[in-house]
Structures are given as C-alpha cells and as structure tokens.
C-alpha cells in the first residue's frame, strides 16, 4: 500500500498473526485490563515481577491476552518482549518514551531512547484515530505497575 507512512509493516503483521507471550500468566504478580469502549479493543496485561539475586525488582515474565486490531495486538506483543528482564523503573521509562513516540514528540532517529524495535510505531501520530490502538497495552502496563486494575484509553 502506498502512503506517507506504512503502518502495516511486516513486523506488525507478523506480531498480529503470531502474537508473542499471548497467554494468561497464572503466576502473575501484577495485572491490569485495558479497554477501548469505542472500538471494542479489550486486553489484559500480566507481569511477573520478582527480586533478582542483587535484590532489585525485575520483570521476569510479561504476557497479554484479549482481542483487538492488528496495531493493538502487535503493540502489545512487542511490548511484552521488550519488558522481559527490565526493571519496573525501566518499564515506566519505556511507557513514557512510547507515549512521546505516539504523539510525534519523539523522533526515534535523532533523539536518544530505549525503544529499540518499538520505534516501528513512529509515524502513527499521522493517524490520530489509531493512536489509542497502539497505546492500549501500554496503558494497561502502566495500570499494572501502578496497581490500577482497569484502564481505558478513551
């Protein structure tokens, strides 16, 4: 498809088709539900946070389940991959960097960030109606880290 920004790159299509960590994490320590009432995207994000040998908190496992559009599912899938092995503090940094990326306030090519492959979502700000799709899992993550059980991006 020709357009100024190709939203549906292979990576996103692949994560939509074969979402990673797509399961309920029975051993979770943190979880939150995310819901977009307007479009029906609905998912749960699970985290298993434990102490590492040096005593610091680490996200050992991250997973999600639910239903949504390709943008929503790919964002959730890639988020769970990025979170594994990170500290909750780093997860919060990723959350705020990803928010800036979605708003078009962070240029991933010229500014420092820790988003890695997640920068594929840059340019989505050109599709305001779809920003909330990419943001949903992240708001659920933020809710889980803040012990808030339900979040909505509407």
């Amino acid at each position: 498809m020709t357009s100024q920004v190709d939203l549906y790159q292979q990576v996103i299509l692949d994560h939509n088709k074969k979402p990673r960590n797509f399961k309920k994490l029975e051993s979770h320590t943190h979880a939150a539900e995310g819901f977009n009432p307007l479009c029906g995207d609905h998912l749960w994000v699970y985290l298993q946070i434990a102490k590492s040998p040096d005593g610091a908190d680490v996200i050992h496992e991250a997973a999600f389940e639910g239903s949504g559009c390709a943008i929503c599912k790919a964002s959730a899938s890639m988020m769970t991959m990025a979170l594994k092995g990170q500290s909750p503090g780093t997860a919060k940094t990723l959350f705020s960097e990803f928010q800036s990326l979605l708003k078009g306030e962070l240029n991933p090519d010229t500014e420092a960030h820790s988003l890695g492959k997640l920068k594929i979502f840059s340019g989505i700000w050109q599709y305001p109606a779809r920003v909330k799709c990419a943001a949903l899992a992240w708001h659920a993550l933020n809710g889980a880290l803040s012990n808030q059980q339900t979040v909505s991006t509407e």
Partner: protein, 411 residues
C-alpha cells in the same frame, strides 16, 4: 443534472455538482463511501449558505429592516420546502432543531413530561444510540420502562415480538426507518398502523431514510418524524422535527428563551404558537437556508431516480462483495438501502478502515453508535461502506479490489 422525469441518472454530470468527488485522499482519487455518516454537499447548497452569510446575514423574526425581513422570508421559505418535502399538513408542524439527536431529546423531554411512572416506551435492537439513550434517561427520570423489539439474523425487526410488546401501558413506539448500521428498511407503515390500532403514537428516526426513500407523513400517518440536514446533502448542526399538531399543542416547551414566548413578565410568561414554541434562541439560519437548497436539489434530481440508482448500486455491490471469500455481511435484510456492513475473517474493522483509507477509500469502521446491535451480531465493530446516488459501480470495483488487497496483506 438529469430531470426528475427520467429514471436513469447521468451520474457523471451529477458528480460535477459535488466538487469533493474530484479531489484526492492520501494521493488517490477519493472514493467516498461514508454517506451514512454524512452526505456530501452539492455546490448549490454551499452557494446558498455563502450568499446568505456574505450578502444577507441578519437575524430572523425580529428586525424591521430590509435584511432581517429578507432573511426571515428565506428562512420561512425553507420551512415550507421541508413541509412540502415530507408533505406535512402545515408549516407549523415543522420544528427546526440542532439535528436528529436534538429532535429525539426534545420529544423525550417534552412529550416525555406528560408520561408517568409505569408507562412504557418501545424501541428496537437496531436503534442508533440517539434513539436509545434519551429514552433511557427519560425512564430513569420518571420511572418508565423501556421495551426492546429484537432483530433477526438478517437484521430485520421481529414484528411478532413488537405486537406482543405493545400493551395498555405503551405510550410511544420510537423506531428507526432505515438502520444506519445494517441498511434495513423497516416496514414503517405496518409498524405505525399496528401501534395506532392500540392508540400508541409513533416516532420515526428518519435520519438514514430521508435522503434515500420518499417520506410522506400524511400517508404514513406518523406522529413524530426526525431527521438531520447533513444526511440530506445540507449543512451540519441542523435537523427537523415533524410533529402532529395535536401532539405538539399538548406538549410543553423544551428549551426556554427568546423567540419562543408571546410575552414575558416576572409574574407570568406565555408561550408562542407553533413552531416558535419549540425554537428558542437564534436558529441556524444559514443552515436552514442551505437545507432549503438541498431539498431543491433532491427534488430536481428526484427521490425516485435517486432510490432507483441506489438500488442498482445495492444489487451490484451485494453481488461483488458476496463473492469475496471470508467476507461476512452484517445486515442482509430483504428490503435495504445501499449500506454494506461487513466483517472479514481475522481482520479487525479498524485495520480495514485504515488500509482502505490508504487507497483513498472512505468507509466507516466501528460500532456505528449501535453497540447493542453489534452485541446482537457478536462483533465488536463492522466495516461499513454506504453509498449514495453519486457513487458508481467502478467505485464498488475499487472497494472490492482494496478489500482483496487487505486480505492478501493479512494472509
């Protein structure tokens, strides 16, 4: 433009009346298939609005100066055009509102204030939120009960259920004439006759019907009918409430303010006659004048010719879309307008909407303000292509090709 007498529309000529159809979206020729959200505006409508705003701007029903009298005359001429368009008995039965939603809220508050706890209102499972929520709010305010007519798998009303729901407590049947999500054309005359046989008045939500099927309020014998200007090729922010005089006379005013009074003192205010009684405040004058031009346009093209052109698009589109594997139509009523609600296996409607947009094709993806109906069909949302008489078969071909491309991308 083609004269109303000829049934076959000269679509290429008609498309010139809508300059937006010659523009591009995302670098592609625009294919506008979102007419159920809002219809496009012909040049004559924009010119009428512009003429008023540039050369005739003035308030109505107040001034004694030339411009005000001219604006009032134009404004009231539009009211007469609306009256004639839906064949109301008198102009006083035509109330200008802010839109379909505002019209329904007016009736829910004003007619609703005459109702009491235990009374019942009947709506259907295919209503737009605007014909659900005002009634729910009325029910909460005054202790009424809301009854809902179910919808079958094709997206048609269960008329047997309607008959069973009507009882001695029923005070109103509020029903949609054409479903915005499914395209279903409901048997409105039958519903009205059925309700009247129990002395129950009927409100028709004609938002989606008014640009596609002829509506004659006297033949229908309908009690209230509401629609929006912007779905009839006119400006947004404006709608019409038709009400039977006997009912409107009994109903108290909804909004209070200027223009709706006969005299005001701190001791006692008396209200104006119809239609002013329900038109508090300065109205959407430019919009009303634009709506008048829109009705002139529709009359010129001819609603019968419009309906027949759209019917042809419906049958062509139905055939083309039904050949796409993995596409499920939501809304397959026997009688329907050229609205195609559909879902694709394993592809979310929002992804369809965005990908079609990248091809320059404008459709709607979502729940279409009909969440209970989406629940009924077990989908969170649908993609919806809605066609008007200025659309073409080749645009349907573009839609089909773009859908196939989406499927290949997701394969």
């Amino acid at each position: 433009m083609t004269a109303a007498s000829t049934q076959k529309l000269a679509v290429e000529e008609i498309r010139k009346d809508f300059p937006i159809l010659s523009t591009t979206a995302r670098g592609r020729p625009l294919v506008y298939l979102d007419n159920a959200a809002t219809t496009l505006k012909p040049k004559s409508v924009v010119e009428a609005v512009q003429r008023h705003l540039l050369l005739g701007a003035s308030n109505v029903h107040r001034g004694v100066h030339y411009l005000s009298e001219k604006a009032t005359a134009d404004f009231e001429a539009s009211r007469e055009k609306v009256r004639s368009f839906i064949n109301a008995r008198e102009k006083a039965e035509i109330i200008f509102t802010a839109g379909t939603t505002a019209g329904i809220n007016l009736v829910a508050h004003s007619y609703g204030s005459l109702l009491k706890a235990g009374d019942e209102i009947i709506i259907s499972a295919m209503e737009h939120h605007s014909n659900i929520v005002p009634w729910q709010m009325l029910c909460e305010r005054q202790g009424l009960t809301l009854r809902v007519v179910p919808v079958n798998d094709r997206g048609e009303l269960d008329l047997t259920a309607l008959e069973q729901l009507i009882n001695q407590k029923t005070r109103l049947v509020a029903i949609v004439a054409v479903s915005n999500a499914l395209g279903t054309i409901n048997p409105i005359k039958h519903i009205i006759d059925l309700a009247h046989s129990h002395d129950v008045p009927v409100l028709l939500d004609a938002a989606q019907a008014v640009a596609h099927i002829p509506l004659d309020v006297q033949t229908l014998d309908v009690d209230f009918l509401v629609f929006s200007s912007h779905k009839l090729f006119g400006p947004t922010g404006l709608g019409v409430l038709y009400g039977r005089r006997e009912l409107l006379d009994r109903m108290p005013p909804f909004l209070g303010g200027g223009d709706m009074i006969r005299s005001v003192t701190f001791a006692k205010t008396t209200y104006a006659e119809l239609p002013a009684k329900f038109e508090a405040g300065t109205p959407h004058i430019a919009g009303v004048i634009g709506l008048g031009a829109a009705i002139d346009y529709v009359n010129h093209v001819g609603l019968a010719a419009i309906a027949s052109a759209e019917d042809e698009l419906l049958h062509y589109g139905k055939r083309c879309l039904s050949e796409i594997p993995g596409l499920r139509m939501i809304g397959t009523a026997e009688h329907k307008t050229s609205i195609f609600g559909f879902v694709l296996d394993d592809i979310h409607p929002h992804d369809i909407g965005t990908l079609l947009d990248q091809e320059g094709i404008a459709i709607r993806a979502g729940h279409h303000c009909t969440q209970p109906l989406m629940d009924r069909f077990g989908v969170p949302a649908t993609a919806r292509a809605s066609l008007a008489f200025y659309n073409t078969k080749s645009e349907i071909d573009s839609l089909v090709q773009a859908i196939l491309k989406v499927q290949r991308l997701f394969a």
